[in-house]
Symmetry: C2
Subunit: 438 residues, 2 copies
């Protein structure tokens, strides 16, 4: 299925005007970055890279797309002829998926002709702004959960396809599984789930519902115990499944108090291995508040898929350099006071201290400083039109864990604060050790 | 393309357990509703109905879906056999798209066997929670804009397919057009757009960029004037296009002050018909603040597609009634203190006063009160499996305008407040005129 019309109208009218003016083929460099993190966030998490590369492979204008553009006179015939043949033939570098990012980090650098690069703007931003927002929230949640598993179950609270992408982003940022079957099929994420209140209410008694569930799904199932009376439900569940009962789920009320009560009850019944799953409107703060409670897993929905207060990452896609008629690249930037950007094609490195902890994000133009042990953050994603950066989602998940471990401990604080490491813009002649002392 | 796996895992395990227990075919009624509006909102806007009906038509488990479920052992063979034959064969009633809703309004009533109705939960909620959130925000924006057109341009700030649905929801709630080409193709919404800052920066001078745009797109185009210096850009644009210049766009800075300055400049240059479009991080409050400024159109992005602070509508899907073994329908409801619901199959009417203004939402079970002139809010959407409720998106857009005009004026206030009309839950023996006096 073509992704080419998931694009703002003006990308194509710009293409038309540039084709007309003879500037369409000027070599151009675009950068995808954020001017700031959401308020109070210590770091952002890169997600969407794999989805973007897959969407890029499908970014072609077939007969149906051309028909729409022609019949609605979006662009002229010259532009339609160009679009019919369009395949991105340039090169893209980017932060690897699962890595962290900070204000000014160049998450993507897209180089090609002006037209081939500009018309990717909308699609690239849609994917990155959504997936980074979810992954960034998810990372705070998995940090707050310590080693306890977090289950993604927010599908119902967001657009049906955003849900699939959200499950993927959450998995990269450390969630253990998802409720979403399409995410399981498409991205290979473990899926799970057992029953809702409606299942209990369907039956003539709670006991009948529990028996039906245990007989069909096995004793290791998770029983939802808050439809009527929690203590009674726990007793009934253990009476039916025995001490092999897999888990009980709490979905309402005072979760801290209930978790303690239910744990004591389960233990008294001999069900010491039965786990407690909690799932009621959790966010990273609620998860942290449950740290001392005997909870075995967290199910997170709404706040995850809506980015826990920051439903979009606020990333932008800007032209930073383009050729003139002689082919010389010229750095460019808008001058608006409140939306300034920095011209020039960037490099990005993460400076590490002697303990291997990150101490600064070096973003600059010109020659790279190349400190010993620093991380080179830009990896090749597309080379002359060939997609070279696809990797399994597990690789991004592993990277997230490793790169997060390299951030200073205060990165895990949930309170509002500054980015955990500074972004240092290095000009042509860098001396990062000096700059970082500021 | 099948929509069947856009579903939470537990819907299918519940199906398995109910099939096993012999309760799967119990006649059941589910209700989709919100316990409350987002904080401070005066009303919600129903959107997603048409998308839900289209998705329902594609909700079938084909070989690929069955393969995934079988190979991952999501459900047993008996359930797979059931799912292979699955088509929703029940009936659905709902609020008509574009109408308003309030706490407790039954946006959908889904009646069928337990299994055929329960497995629609995730998909229905995903669509309604997203689309209602966007439409509800959009309605506040179009109200704040008075008669001035609002242009949807938030695609880049949300998931790439959520963007398409957001454009549709915004159009229903009064937006005039979208930047999103897929929304134009798929839903017939007018699309538009001309150029971004990158187009100006591509060229050797702003004048060269403006000339290229005007020559290719015509004098009626919209010129972006804030890349360097606004006054200089306005002068250049009029010098090139003459007084027939279509519009100028401001995308940064103090929009109120700039709109006045640019209007004065345009008028002084004789370009009295040239419009001013503003587009910088607008929400309903910023739009209201520009009411007295000489602005001709608003472009809205981020805050629209993220629901202006309420990115999900918080709607839920609950079993409210189901048959017992004798076939008698029994009203059911969960008893949890903080998430209680009201059992029973609902009717919903909007009581109007003598001026035709809404004075209350009557939601009840049992016999309908049927006051003179009241609106019956539930329309048939699916009849015994046949989709009967599809309508053009224009019909929903027209309905939104009409129904909004029936709300008391304070519905248009942007300040936080209570729902503009009360929801009155009427029990078996209604006397609405009495109840409404409270």
């Amino acid at each position: 299925m073509s992704t080419a019309l998931l694009t703002d109208h003006y990308e194509l009218t710009m293409a038309q005007a540039a084709l007309h003016a003879g500037t369409a083929s000027r070599r151009s460099v675009f950068e995808l970055f954020g001017r700031r993190l959401p308020e109070g966030r210590r770091y952002g998490v890169v997600a969407g890279t794999g989805r973007f590369l897959e969407a890029l492979a499908d970014f072609t204008f077939g007969p149906e797309e051309i028909d729409h553009l022609a019949s609605h006179r979006v662009v002229d015939d010259t532009t339609l002829d160009y679009l019919k043949e369009y395949r991105f033939g340039g090169s893209i570098w980017g932060y690897a998926e699962g890595d962290m990012y900070f204000p000014g980090s160049p998450l993507l650098i897209v180089e090609g002709t002006f037209v081939e690069a500009v018309i990717l703007e909308t699609l690239a931003l849609s994917i990155y702004n959504h997936d980074c927002a979810v992954a960034s929230a998810a990372s705070r949640m998995t940090s707050a959960a310590g080693g306890r598993p977090c289950i993604e179950m927010g599908s119902r609270r967001t657009h049906e396809w955003a849900a699939v992408a959200a499950a993927r982003a959450a998995y990269i940022a450390g969630f253990s599984s998802t409720s979403n079957l399409e995410a399981a099929r498409r991205h290979g994420i473990p899926s799970g789930g057992t029953s809702a209140h409606s299942f209990t209410l369907l039956h003539d008694s709670e006991e009948a519902a529990f028996r039906a569930q245990i007989e069909s799904l096995g004793k290791d199932t998770t029983i939802l115990v808050d439809t009527y009376d929690v203590a009674g439900a726990v007793e009934r569940a253990v009476a039916l499944a025995g001490t092999e009962l897999g888990a009980v789920r709490l979905d309402s009320g005072d979760l801290v108090a209930q978790a303690h009560e239910v744990r004591a009850q389960l233990d008294a019944l001999g069900a010491t291995q039965t786990r407690i799953v909690v799932t009621s409107d959790l966010d990273e703060y609620a998860i942290a508040a449950l740290a001392a409670a005997p909870v075995d897993a967290y199910g997170v929905g709404t706040s995850l898929v809506t980015g826990s207060g920051a439903p979009t990452a606020g990333l932008v896609y800007k032209l930073v350099s383009r050729a003139d008629d002689s082919g010389t690249l010229i750095n460019v930037a808008k001058e608006s006071k409140d939306k300034a950007s920095i011209g020039g094609r960037k490099y990005a490195r993460r400076a590490l201290d002697e303990n291997g902890l990150a101490r600064g994000e070096l973003v600059g133009i010109g020659e790279e400083p190349g400190g010993p042990g620093d991380l080179d953050l830009l990896v090749p994603l597309v080379h002359d039109g060939d997609i070279v950066g696809l990797e399994p989602v597990e690789a991004a998940r592993d990277r997230h864990r490793e790169r997060l471990a390299q951030l200073p401990r205060k990165s895990r604080r949930l309170s509002k604060g500054e980015p955990v490491i500074p972004t240092v813009f290095v000009d042509e002649h860098p001396d990062p050790s000096l700059v970082l002392r500021h």
